[in-house]
């Protein structure tokens, strides 16, 4: 199995404050690694160390199973935090800077990449006049120039409209599938992340608190039973007294039951016999966001 990133006790301290605390991460070739954490958890600092923008204060890191980080970083494309572009230049000129830098002789790569990210045909428009979404797309194009094998994307969905988010997602999935590109991506849009990632790492206060594959997440997610009735208050009372189950009431009045799921038929009968009209009784399971919130709640507590 080939690893693209291997870190061992990777740490970063700023003026006595630990931003990344002994993080051990292994990313395999072909993975889409979803990196999750609240603001200030250390995601960006970790990614900056991978890119060579910040020097680790402890631990070691290997890229493509090599310790020669400078050389291996030529095989990486990244977007970290805000879009880093030249505002007085057009999208084409921005890409041209990196085409020359990387010594790519094929000039067609620039319009091809712009078309690929949906920025073809913006001609003389300066990037300072671009929307945030357009800037994000341009950053992805910049990250992709030079045919990288590994993309490091820090919040690439920021500022994108729903259509743009879908386009970027499809683009990344295509790159992963067609070109076997390995991707580490951080995002606060966990639902979106769960549609792409093949494995996840959760970072909290600088420490990696959990790492699991998408398949493991399937197993770990809590199953539930959603009950919709014409009388949520009475339903709540009955569930408390008769079933003593763990549940919560949603803002729309639906009740989500987390245990005693095997007794769904009995619960239904009990509610009907108490004069409650049950309009829906559907099984479901926790999404990535719910799992993350549970995990964070547990850690913080």
């Amino acid at each position: 199995m080939e690893y693209v990133v291997q870190t061992k006790d990777l740490s970063k301290t700023f003026a006595g404050k630990t931003a990344v605390d002994h993080v051990n991460i292994n990313i395999r070739r072909g993975d889409i690694y979803g990196f999750i954490g609240e603001n200030g958890a250390g995601k960006t600092t970790f990614m900056r160390m991978l890119c060579g923008l910040a020097e680790p204060t402890g631990g070691t890191m290997r890229l493509f199973e090599s310790g020669d980080l400078e050389k291996q970083r030529r095989r990486i494309g990244c977007t970290i935090e805000n879009p880093a572009i030249y505002p007085a230049m057009t999208a084409e000129e921005n890409l041209e800077v990196y085409r020359i830098l990387l010594g790519i002789t094929d000039k067609n790569i620039v319009p091809e990449l712009l078309d690929f990210v949906g920025l073809g045909g913006f001609g003389k428009k300066k990037t300072r006049d671009f929307s945030l979404g357009m800037k994000q797309r341009l950053m992805i194009a910049i990250a992709m120039i030079g045919d990288p094998e590994f993309l490091i994307l820090d919040e690439p969905m920021n500022g994108l409209d729903p259509m743009g988010i879908k386009e970027v997602r499809d683009l990344l999935l295509e790159l992963n599938k067609e070109k076997k590109l390995t991707i580490i991506i951080s995002s606060h849009i966990l639902d979106e992340l769960s549609r792409m990632a093949t494995c996840y790492g959760i970072i909290h206060r600088g420490a990696l608190v959990d790492e699991f594959t998408a398949r493991e997440l399937e197993r770990r997610r809590r199953r539930n039973l959603k009950i919709v009735t014409d009388n949520p208050d009475k339903t709540e009372r009955l569930l408390k007294t008769s079933v003593s189950a763990n549940f919560e009431t949603m803002p729309d009045g639906a009740i989500v039951l987390y245990d005693r799921l095997e007794t769904a038929a009995d619960i239904n009968r009990m509610l009907i016999s108490n004069g409650i009209a049950v309009s829906a009784l559907s099984p479901g399971e926790q999404n990535l966001e719910g799992y993350f919130m549970d995990l964070m709640g547990g850690k913080i507590a």
């Binding site: 910040a54 050389k71 830098l101």
Partner: protein, 259 residues
């Protein structure tokens, strides 16, 4: 090599370079007008002593005057600050470093391209001032200047400007902000030399600190007949700041986290 090519491409696309180049042209024209006006003013006043004392204007004397002024280093300070610090302000430096390029190489390519731009501004400025002056008053009617003395003056002043560039690049890379870099670099040109002159009150005649700073040497070498030892001192000071600034700057940049 690709890094330098890429830097030149950015320079070609950077507005601040053309604005500063235009300022150098305006500065050359302004220095000719100013010199002419001062001479005319002296003659109009009819003060015989003054008119006798005033040296006749020539293309060479105009070159000397242009080189002795602080205007060109100020323009260069602004250009370098915006060109270098802008890279951090818009975040593009992240892209460079994350592509795995050597930090020292990145710093040196930046410095080399700044140096080339500064030399272009310098050549445009002095050529224009000297050409206009020569067209009006003649190049050197008195025949005092030799090719060697002019070359020594132009080359040593060029070296001192490169030394300034090295200091400006260091500060801009360190400060990483357009506003702060412009302010500090302008202070380096104008305020720092004044502070050094003031220290003469403390140190007395025993040591003249201004001799060890670029600005003092820029003034001392802005003549075709410098004092004995001035050229050597200027060249040593120039090389010290040029090499020292580049070495310190690249080492600082190597250790610097980039945001």
């Amino acid at each position: 090599m690709n890094m330098i090519k890429s830097e030149f491409y950015k320079l070609k696309k950077t507005k601040v370079f053309y604005i500063c180049l235009l300022a150098c042209v305006a500065l050359a024209v302004f220095s000719v007008i100013l010199a002419g006006a001062i001479q005319a003013g002296v003659l109009v006043r009819g003060v015989e002593e003054a008119s006798e004392a005033a040296e006749p204007l020539t293309g060479v004397s105009l070159l000397e005057q242009t080189l002795g002024l602080d205007f060109l280093p100020t323009i260069i300070a602004i250009f370098v600050s915006v060109f270098v610090a802008g890279e951090f302000v818009n975040g593009a430096m992240k892209n460079y470093v994350s592509k795995g390029y050597n930090r020292v190489g990145t710093y040196l390519s930046k410095f080399l391209v700044c140096g080339a731009a500064v030399m272009t501004m310098y050549i445009v400025n002095i050529t224009l001032a000297c050409t206009i002056g020569s067209m009006i008053w003649g190049f050197d009617p008195t025949g005092l200047a030799t090719a060697g003395s002019i070359a020594a003056m132009v080359l040593s002043e060029g070296l001192l400007l490169l030394a300034y560039t090295s200091v400006f690049v260091l500060l801009a890379m360190w400060l990483r902000s357009n506003g702060a870099s412009v302010a500090v670099n302008i202070c380096v040109v104008s305020l720092f030399s004044t502070v050094l002159m003031l220290t003469a009150f403390i140190t007395g005649d025993s040591i003249t600190l201004a001799n060890y700073w670029i600005s003092g040497n820029v003034s001392a070498l802005a003549t075709i007949a410098p004092e004995s030892g001035a050229v050597l001192q200027g060249v040593i000071v120039g090389f010290c700041y040029l090499i020292g600034g580049t070495v310190i700057g690249s080492l600082l940049f190597k250790k610097q986290d980039i945001k």
